[in-house]
Symmetry: C2
Subunit: 141 residues, 2 copies
Amino acid sequence: MKAETIQRSLEDSGLRCTAQRYAVMAFLMEHKGHPTAAEIFEGVNRLDPRSSRATTYNNLRDLVKAGLVSEVAVEGRAGRFDAKGTRHHHFICDRCGSVEDMDWYNVPKPASRSLGKRVVRECQLIFRGLCTKCAARRASR
Amino acid sequence: MKAETIQRSLEDSGLRCTAQRYAVMAFLMEHKGHPTAAEIFEGVNRLDPRSSRATTYNNLRDLVKAGLVSEVAVEGRAGRFDAKGTRHHHFICDRCGSVEDMDWYNVPKPASRSLGKRVVRECQLIFRGLCTKCAARRASR
DNA sequence: ATATTAGATTAGATATATTCTAATTATTCG
DNA sequence: CGAATAATTAGAATATATCTAATCTAATAT
């Protein structure tokens, strides 16, 4: 039944439901820990069909463009991906670069005067600091 | 007089005011367009002392850690840097990856319940969409 | 059903971005 | 001064992401 859900959301976005694309989507829905492209590539290939690195990147790009997946860029590290489920913000750890979900809450839009002729598609709130693990590690020194 | 300002802010952060480090800081204050590390490297070397790529990256890292400079990660592209002047948010163009400043306004903090044991150092608001140039370009098609 | 076309995928090469290494130089401090 | 620490260097190495050109697949038209 999740299978049909994925298939439908792909097709609704005008994307064919290929084995490789489906696998990326399914992997993201089962691994909520914001995996990198390399982890996704490894993960989907560990299971079944041989998928190439290029295809994994292509599909991630397509899924992001279609709005089914979001990407979180992390300074100096691989980007991380996330199946868009319920709305949420993100937390990025300064030390280990891990990305975690944060409860969503509404953020006021910028004044239209400050927008100029820009077209704003979305607005992301990103918290930075130390994750639980890294905070504990620092405290114990 | 800007020279002393830079020197003081470096020393206040426990960083020696070396020629290379100063140059990075000065370059960032004169170029508000959010340059990449490569552009900064090129820029400071075009002027005067030979500085190496590694040093440029090292200094950028130190300056970010000291809170004098901020870095904006952009998906699939080089990170961009910004001397922290007055507070502001950022806008990232989906198409060309350019980063622009947006007027600052206060953003409500998350509920402490949702923070857990995380330590939040800062909170960034990032707008995404099409910059003025790219929006115009798209409209004309 | 075949042919045509557009959409996807592939392996590997390439490009881009960043960090590491080990040696060297500069600065601070006792 | 001399020792210890901080900073810099060139270039190699790594990590990350995209490109290429050939091939395969699926949808549509004939």
